[in-house]
Structures are given as structure tokens and as C-alpha cells.
Amino acid sequence: MAATPDGQNMYTEAVATGLWREIPVFRMLLGTCPTLAVTAAIKPALTMGLCVIFVLVCSNIMVSLMRKGLRPHVRILLFTLTIATFVTIADLFLRAYQPVMSEALGPYVPLIIVNCVIIWRAEARASNSGVLLSIVDGLAMGAGFTIALCVLATIREILGTGRLFEIQVLPKTFPAWAAMGMPVGAFLTFGFVLGFINYVSRKRS
């Protein structure tokens, strides 16, 4: 098994990094645009998360396969081309098999192309690692991103409509905070969750 200099398994390292240490959105503050846009309810958030996992893994595989031939001038161009292709494919699949979700997500699916998380992983991991490690890294980072989206979406949906996945979670007498479904709620929830995470991190250290 491949190992890092200090003896730890590279694969578990990658998983730990993606799921906690450098989790996108919360730790790395990347990919914030779709975060605010699709987290009004949990279903769009999950759909977006799955799309990002798909694009991330596919693009990592392709960049990893190409890594020997990368030249400084065309690097970013190649990354962008790969990512754009896989995002288009993901969008086509969504429009074919989940038209309602595709309408709801709208232009935010193609915006995955400029989601910094994907270019960041292509640059930091896939362009200098083997295919298997790139896949693991893609899965871990994608999972981290999805978890972050779902945390925000759960808060916003429960407080905003009292329901989660169509199941009434809060009693009907609870006045739903309609603002949670609107941009206000998005920014405020994100800000407070980030603050909470900062607080927890500081308490630990």
C-alpha cells in the first residue's frame, strides 16, 4: 500500500482531508455560490452534491490520466475543457432523468464548471497522483461538499417550512421562517454556521 513519509496510508489521509480537515465550503470557503443557491431545500442540495461528486471523480480520473503530458501553458485550459465536458454530461443526464430537479437547479448545474473545488482538486491532487488516489480524493472531497450542503439545507428547510423531505418535522404550530427560503436566510445561515464552526475549532485548540 502506498504510504506518506510519516507512515500513514495515503488513502485514508485523502479521505480525512476531504471529509473534515479541508472540507470544501466550511474550511476552504470555496464553491460558495451554489452553496447559497441550492440549499433552500434538501433535495436540490443532495442533487447538486451528487452532480459535483460525479464531475469531480470523472475530471480527476481524466486529469490523472493526462498528468504526464501536461504543459504549463495549456494546463488550465485542459482542466477547464475536461470539467466543462463532464458538467455538460451531468446536466444532460439530469435533464433526461430528473427534469423537475433540473428546472429547480437551473443555471447552477453548469456553474459547477467554475466551482473552485473542482479546479483546486485537479491542480492539487489529480495532476500529480495516480488514478486510484485521484478517485478516492474526488469521492472524499465530493462527499465533504455534499455534507456541507446538506447541513445548510437541513437547517434552512426545517426552519423555513417545518418539513424535511416532505415529512413534517416541526409541529404545525411552529411559525415557519419564510425568510429561510430567500437569499437573506441563505446568507445568515451560512454566516452563523461558519461562526459556529470557528467557535468549535477554537475551543478544541
Binding site: V74, L77, L92
Partner: protein, 210 residues
């Protein structure tokens, strides 16, 4: 000359190969999924319409285009479907657009076969305020149009009329005047034009209408 060409090829061969590969991937996916996407697009309107006209078995798009004037005065081609059961027309379904509070509101409207009564409407797309303008999707407002006579609708405030009366007087949603007005305006703007166009095409009779 040959040297610079060799350098060019060395720098960019991967880009060219990758472009070709990506192009092939895109073309293949598009060919495989394209038909399904087209079907989905047509299905969107008719699946909502099925809820308004449960008796209809099929929704057939009109063979000749229907031209109407949009709210901005521009001529546009209207989306009209004929709702049929065993080849008899049971109603007409079309899309109307209104300008709501936040953005455009798209409605699918169904009328009966003689274009004299509304079967109702459903919201295709809208970005109205949740809890307020969003109520145009709810039963309170939609029921007022189900069975209402086709004609000019007038909007009144809460309490000025009984919303359970199925007539041309529509009671607005409290706190969502603009969204309520948008729906009524869209109906008033498009219904007469569409009725006129269908009558001209001989698809519905010139019935007794005030």
C-alpha cells in the same frame, strides 16, 4: 520552420487529443439522451394539464400555429394543446404568461371544449415570495378559477366578495396583490385572443356570448 512546428505540436498535442475526446463524449451523450430530453420538455406542460382535465386521455398540439400578442405587444406563437378522449375534444390547454412581483409567472390554463368555462389553471414557473405571492399555487386562489366563465375577470379585495362563488369576480390573496393581479391580467389578456384565434380557425363554434 520545422522546429517551431515541432515545438507547437509538442506543446499542444494533448489539447487537441483531449478536445477530440471530449467532443466525442459530448456528441455520444447528446445522441443518447437527446430524444428523452425532448419528450420531457413536451411532457412538462401536459402533465400539469392532466391534473386540470382528468377526463382527457391525450394532449395533441395544434398543427397550425396560433399567433397572439404578448403583454409587451410583441407577437408570439402561443402553445396550445387539444385535449381529447377517443378523438373527441374535451378541452383546450394553453400556456399564459403574466408579470408577477418578482419575475414572470407562467401558467397552464385549461378550458372546456366550447371555450366557455375555465377548467382551472396551474403554475408552471414562478418566483413569487414564499408564503405570500406563492399562494397562487394553492387551492384558495386556484379554486376561484375552476369552473369560472371565460370572460373578463375583475379582482377585488378580501371581504368584498365571497371567494367560494364561482364567477368572474376574483378575491385577491391577502398580502399578495401584485401576484394576484398578475394571474388575472394574464387571463384577461390571453383568453380573448386565444378564443378569437380558435374561432377563426373553425375549431370552436361562435357560441352565444355576451
Amino acid at each position: 520552420m520545422l522546429d517551431s512546428l515541432k515545438r507547437f505540436v509538442r506543446e499542444s498535442w494533448l489539447l487537441v487529443v483531449a478536445s477530440v475526446l471530449c467532443g466525442l463524449l459530448l456528441a455520444a451523450t447528446n445522441a443518447a439522451l437527446g430524444p428523452r430530453i425532448e419528450v420531457n420538455k413536451a411532457l412538462k406542460l401536459t402533465s400539469l394539464a392532466g391534473g386540470l382535465l382528468p377526463a382527457a386521455q391525450a394532449f395533441v398540439p395544434l398543427s397550425s400555429p396560433v399567433e397572439v400578442k404578448g403583454l409587451d405587444g410583441k407577437t408570439e406563437s402561443a402553445v396550445v394543446f387539444k385535449a381529447t378522449t377517443d378523438d373527441t375534444v374535451v378541452g383546450w390547454v394553453f400556456k399564459v404568461v403574466g408579470s408577477g412581483f418578482a419575475d414572470k409567472i407562467e401558467l397552464v390554463v385549461a378550458v372546456d371544449a366550447s371555450f366557455s368555462k375555465l377548467a382551472g389553471y396551474d403554475v408552471v414557473t414562478s418566483s413569487e415570495t414564499p408564503g405570500f405571492g406563492d399562494q397562487i399555487k394553492d387551492a384558495y386562489y386556484r379554486n376561484q378559477f375552476a369552473g369560472a366563465p371565460v370572460g373578463q375577470f375583475s379582482l377585488v379585495g378580501l371581504g368584498a366578495a365571497n371567494e367560494r362563488d364561482v364567477d368572474s369576480t376574483i378575491v385577491a390573496i391577502s398580502g399578495a396583490t401584485i401576484s394576484s393581479t398578475a394571474v388575472v391580467q394574464a387571463m384577461n389578456h390571453y383568453l380573448p385572443q386565444l378564443k378569437d384565434q380558435l374561432q377563426q380557425k373553425g375549431l370552436i363554434g361562435h357560441g352565444s356570448n355576451p
